[in-house]
Symmetry: C2
Subunit: 263 residues, 2 copies
DNA sequence: CAGTGGTCTAGACCACACC
DNA sequence: GTGTGGTCTAGACCACTGT
């Protein structure tokens, strides 16, 4: 009846459930509290401490345990719902979802993909020069046709086998993309190091047969099936950062994606 | 200095900016207020009332105009940021982003895709029966091997040309999937009509060459490049709903995706 | 009925960009 | 400085689920 909280029934609520021990938050950190909580819960889930199918503590209890407000805890949980880690039902509670492969590919690069898969990727720069933008490049980068843009062509290999030929076009204003830098890391990594925040992309995936030269480069048979991808990446201001036309050896690479329903 | 609000300086704030007129919210509706605001703003942006690049009113002003709290208005704006419609910068404001193609493909189906593209799709059911789950199907649907599952095989055409052969496996418990229903609409549409909430999916896209039979079915040349897709779809409880193995004529279809950074 | 998540409010303080 | 968005709090009421 009374809105006053019960004076420590049995155990200290801050150490009660199996949850809170690993979830201490650092209030001096610049990282938002809700994000710290979300990461903490994510570790508990992925580490198996909280079994799939089991219920998580409810918001009010958790906020009391962590000494945070309910909206803060709530925001963390909403984040995990977006990630597909947990499921919430009014009147029922919050349950941990059966674990899947879980790769949030979204805005990663082939380099990140391969490295995450345990294969150490290597890169050979085939071309690194300035060219006039053709209509496709001009449209994607939102510059006039024939504007000089940076072209980068790379051969990406994994475990000694060629996987893809990557052709990227970028505005001349971008810096820090020397050939040596490109051979030691991914393009997106270098862009992020320049302070560019990659925010969104549109991409088109298709397939076609390899030309003789492409087959030779990728060590495929003549006429082999290739995956093709065209992608335009935008920064957080909505400006185009990069446009790429890529081909992948279909025998050695597939695109894997996790989708979450919009809303 | 005083925390008291200024007593109606000049004009009534509720009719001041260009924004609020179309943004009246219905407090009796079961639709969340923040969502009503988000839709209203989206219409203003997509209708061109608010030009790309121009600033939106700030949160405090907008909340006063709409007579809503700041967090509510804020939530609407966060939604639009997720959709890629607007961009926010601390100390600067909220600006409308240059419009792109904007297709939130995420969890739509080929049927939706084709129809949205103006091509009226047609479907021919090639098979509709019960089969024992092989290892791939069993793994995806989380049932034991050899469990009887529903198999649906369809040929999807657009503008009279075959585009894809779709093979889907579903648990026997799913209803409402008669052959006639499947020929008049998309699978996802039928599932949603059954009250199933599609929430997430994992998919793998690859490429290979067509067999003689596949080429014949899709009216392609022998050995033509095909796009392949395997997708498992999950409902909002995290349970697998559907597993599909599909092939697409690469000359007639590509996958187009909009990605937003996950952080 | 009690317990859960879903929504909303009215404040507060801070970090950052621009003048 | 001034104004902006980013974060956080401490409540409130409601809708839905299960008993």
């Amino acid at each position: 009846m009374s809105p006053v909280q019960i004076p420590e029934a049995r155990t200290d609520p801050a150490t009660a459930g199996p949850i809170p021990r690993a979830l201490a938050v650092d209030r001096t950190s610049p990282i938002p509290l809700w994000y710290q909580v979300a990461r903490g819960l994510q570790e508990l889930i992925e580490g198996g401490t909280v079994a799939p199918g089991s219920h998580l503590d409810n918001e009010i209890l958790l906020s009391r345990q962590l000494k945070l407000s309910r909206p803060t805890v709530r925001r963390a949980m909403e984040h995990l719902v977006d990630q597909g880690l947990i499921v919430r039902q009014r009147g029922v509670g919050t349950r941990v979802v059966q674990q899947k492969v879980r790769r949030p590919m979204a805005l990663t690069s082939l380099y990140d993909d391969l490295r995450a898969g345990g294969q150490e990727p290597t890169t050979t720069v085939l071309a690194h020069d300035l060219v006039g933008a053709d209509t496709a490049v001009a449209l994607a980068l939102e510059v006039p046709v024939d504007t000089e843009v940076l072209r980068i062509e790379r051969l990406r290999s994994a475990a000694g086998n060629p996987v893809a030929r990557l052709t990227n076009y970028l505005p001349r204003t971008v810096e820090g993309l020397s050939a040596t830098a490109l051979e030691s890391g991914g393009l997106y990594e270098l862009l992020r190091a320049q302070g560019i925040v990659l925010h969104a992309a549109t991409q088109t995936v298709g397939a076609r047969r390899a030309s003789a030269a492409e087959a030779r480069l990728l060590e495929e048979t003549r006429g082999a099936a290739l995956l093709t991808m065209r992608r335009t990446t935008f920064d957080d201001h909505g400006r185009p950062v990069e446009y790429g036309q890529h081909i992948y050896a279909a025998t050695r690479y597939v695109f894997q994606t996790q989708l979450v329903a919009p809303f």
